[in-house]
């Protein structure tokens, strides 16, 4: 097993996540894509930790941080989406252009 196999998987997942963030119309699905990006980053972190053999196991610990932050972020993000949906009766991000100049 060489590291590039894991990095490619991570890159693939990340790209899919980016595609989702940029193109999905539903706000929830955008958040889902953000989760996917974060997961891809986790894979990268763990892969580097396994192959660099850090004494402190920094990669694995950092991955735990990422998971925590992702969780918090989803909670808040979904709360905001819920409020938006209540106000605008739509979860379509294309319609959220009140900050337009």
């Amino acid at each position: 097993m060489i590291i590039t196999q894991f990095l490619i998987v991570g890159a693939a997942l990340f790209s899919l996540g980016v595609y989702g963030v940029l193109t999905r119309r539903n706000a929830v699905l955008v958040l889902l894509s953000v989760e996917l990006m974060l997961a891809a980053v986790n894979i990268n972190l763990v892969a580097f930790d396994r192959f660099v053999a850090d004494q402190l196991a920094g990669g694995q610990i950092f991955a735990l941080f990422v998971i925590t932050v992702a969780a918090a972020e989803v909670g808040i993000g979904l709360a905001i989406v819920l409020l938006i949906f209540r106000n605008r009766h739509s979860a379509n991000v294309d319609e959220l252009d009140l900050m337009k100049l």
């Binding site: 963030v21 940029l22 193109t23 991000v93 294309d94 959220l96 252009d97 900050m99 337009k100």
Partner: protein
């Protein structure tokens, strides 16, 4: 004394020892200063004073008279020669003459010597008598106080002139008397012709002043000083190479031109008859006795300059010719005048010609003696004329006649004056005119220095005969004046009042005083007997100069006879024409000799020539041309500058509006356009922002990978 023939040559050893005059001379600065100060007092306080300014004026002239006579008496002893000057300024540095590198000095001072003393006494005594007379004559005049202020100003100016120790101060006095002459001739300025006469007098004198100034500058710069004493010592050093002798001839001509204006010599004589427009006391004092003699005084003061060989002695032929012409031609005009003052004015011109001729012949004493005596009898004649005019209210002799009964004092004093003027024996005019004839005859003889000038002796002889003819003419017109005024029947109307009566005492007493002078002063200088006048006037010049002048030791009986015969002939002819028949007198007077009369009546057309040849062109075309030039050329420059400024303003405005404001507006437009463009990125849509972030990231990372 060396003597040959009747003539005597004064040599240096005989020069009298003179005194410096003591406190009298040291205090003589008061003589010019007091009248000048009193003029201002009269102007400011005259109207409020009880005598309306006359008191101050007459007191001043009385002071001058007393002082002048006192100096005259003091001078009779040793002869006073005193001069003092106060330094005023140094101007520049001289570039030629002996005093190269020194500055020209300007001073104010006073001279007390025989010549000045004679003038002080003349101005003082005659002036005082005229002022007393004027109180009566100017009674009730609308500008009484101002008249006396101007008159006192004149006295002050004249005294400044005759006390001047240098040419600059003389010029100051010269101009002062010119101004006061203008003021006084134009006293009755309500009539336009009177103010015109005043302007004519002033401008004619001003023309002559060009000569005076040029001459004074030439003399002053070539000698290095304007002082008369310095000039005379330069002359005493002799001719040759000194700068003064190089310019001497032209300086002498220029100074004489100045003298011609003030002393009214032909052709600058035109102002004097018109000056009769002024009040009679003015005509008497200024235009007979004193102001017009300033020119003769100047020549007298500069006499060594005109007498010593190598300086201006060649100018004497010019002086002789001018004097002779004036003498004769103006006398002829007096024959056809109806206005009694004009007769006396032309007579004055003629007598001034005599004085000038005397100076030209080198007879310093004779000329000044005639100045002195003429002052008395001409002033007297004018005051008598004023008395008559006052009585008949007209200047014209055709309105007079038979006045000897109602006005006896005036008649007798006028007769004394006329007799003296005609040069009939024993009275003042006889002695002074006779001395002039004698000096002319000497100048025409072989012994005089004039033979060196161009035909000088022959000229002097010609002038002698002209002078004798002039004596005939003088007697002729004076007889006419006397007979038309005082004899015959009274032809006037005196405004329907009672027949004319004698003038008040304040006017007749001065007449008597002057008549005494006219009668007796001739005896001051009888050749061979009394030399009071010669000693008085000449004392200063006779030291340092040899053979300056020639004094007769006895009367030249032949000339005396000739002169008297000419005068008697004039009287006889006059009596023959105007005397006997009271009825035909007027008719005879209005008879006009065909060619001669118009020529004389139009004054040889000289006034016409001046008016049409000089005044009218200047007033008309020349003035218009200057006005055109001023309006179109000079104003063009000014207006052009205005136009330029206006055009420039328009361009500046356009530039400001379109250029500057355009730039500012354009920059604002650019800012607005940029904003409009950038606004397009702010869609408000999150996904587009995310796209931009990711795109930017990709570019950055790519850049990092490529360039590191």
């Amino acid at each position: 004394m060396t003597a040959f023939g009747p003539f005597v040559v004064a040599t240096a050893e005989e020069a009298a020892v003179h005194s410096d005059g003591g406190w009298l001379a040291a205090g003589a600065w008061l003589i010019p200063v007091v009248p000048m100060v009193v003029t201002f007092l009269i102007v400011f306080f005259g109207k409020r004073s009880p005598l309306k300014g006359w008191g101050m004026a007459a007191a001043t002239l009385g002071f001058v008279a007393v002082y002048g006579v006192a100096l005259f008496v003091a001078n009779l002893g040793d002869g006073i020669y005193y001069e003092k000057a106060i330094h005023l300024a140094d101007v520049g540095t001289q570039s030629m003459g002996e005093h190269v590198g020194e500055a020209l000095v300007f001073e104010w001072g006073w001279i007390v010597d025989g010549l000045s003393i004679m003038m002080y006494a003349l101005v003082g005594v005659v002036g005082f008598l005229v002022f007393v007379y004027a109180k009566g004559y100017m009674e009730g005049d609308v500008r009484y106080t101002w008249f006396f202020a101007s008159f006192t100003l004149f006295a002050g100016g004249m005294l400044v002139l005759v006390s001047a120790p240098n040419l600059i101060q003389l010029i100051v006095g010269w101009e002062l008397v010119g101004v006061s002459s203008y003021l006084l001739i134009g006293h009755y300025w309500e009539e336009h012709e009177n103010s015109s006469a005043a302007i004519k007098a002033f401008l004619t004198n001003k023309v002559a002043d060009v000569g005076l100034f040029v001459g004074a500058i030439m003399v002053g710069t070539s000698v290095g000083s304007f002082r008369f004493s310095d000039i005379m010592s330069t002359v005493a050093e002799g001719g040759g190479e000194s700068p003064l002798s190089r310019f001497g001839f032209w300086a002498g001509v220029a100074l004489f031109i100045g003298a011609m204006g003030k002393s009214a010599q032909f052709p600058l004589h035109v102002w004097l008859p018109d000056a009769m427009a002024g009040p009679t006391p003015v005509s008497s004092l200024m235009h007979a006795a004193t102001m017009v003699t300033a020119g003769v005084y100047l020549v007298g003061r500069m006499f060594p300059f005109y007498a010593v060989d190598g300086f201006a002695d060649d100018v004497r032929w010019l002086i002789l010719v001018v004097g002779a012409v004036t003498l004769f031609l103006t006398g002829l005009i007096a024959l056809v005048q109806d206005d009694i003052k004009k007769v006396l004015a032309y007579s004055t011109l003629s007598q001034l010609g005599y004085m000038t001729v005397a100076m030209g012949a080198g007879a310093y004493t004779a000329g000044l003696f005639h100045l002195f005596t003429h002052g008395f009898f001409k002033a007297l004649l004018f005051l008598c004329a004023g008395s008559v005019i006052h009585a008949v209210h007209s200047n014209n002799m055709s309105d007079m006649g038979g006045l000897r009964r109602p006005m006896p004092i005036t008649f007798w004093t006028f007769a004394v004056g006329a007799y003296a003027l005609a040069g009939l024996p024993l009275l003042a005019g006889f002695w002074s005119k006779d001395e002039i004839l004698a000096s002319l005859s000497f100048a025409g003889s072989a012994e005089s220095g004039l033979t060196t000038a161009q035909g000088g002796a022959a000229l002097a002889n010609v002038v002698l005969w002209v002078a004798i003819a002039g004596a005939f003419v003088t007697a002729f017109y004076m007889t006419r004046a006397v007979w038309l005024t005082f004899f015959g029947a009274y032809k006037g109307h005196a405004n329907g009042l009672a027949r004319p009566h004698e003038s008040p005492r304040i006017m007749t007493y001065p007449l008597v005083g002057l008549a005494i002078g006219a009668a007796l002063f001739g005896f001051l200088n009888v050749p061979g007997l009394t030399t009071v006048f010669t000693d008085t006037v000449g004392v200063r010049f006779f030291e340092g100069f040899h053979d300056l002048e020639h004094h007769a030791t006895s009367i030249n009986w032949l000339l005396a006879l000739l002169g008297t015969a000419a005068a008697a002939a004039g009287v006889a002819l006059g009596y023959r024409i105007w005397g006997p028949d009271a009825d035909t007198q007027q008719a005879r007077d209005t008879f006009t000799v065909p060619v001669l009369y118009p020529l004389l009546a139009r004054k040889y057309y000289i006034d016409d020539f001046y008016m049409d040849g000089v005044v009218r062109p200047l007033r008309g075309p020349v003035a218009r041309a200057v006005d055109w030039f001023n309006g179109h050329v000079i104003d063009l420059v000014v207006n052009g500058a205005g136009f330029l400024a206006r055009g420039l303003g328009r361009y500046v405005y356009a530039f400001d509006q379109r250029g500057l404001d355009g730039a500012i507006n354009a920059s604002a437009g650019a800012a607005s356009m940029t904003g409009g463009f950038l606004r397009l990125f702010q869609t408000g849509r999150v996904q587009q922002y995310a796209v931009m972030i990711f795109a930017g990231m990709v570019i950055l990372v790519a850049g990092l990978i490529i360039f590191s």
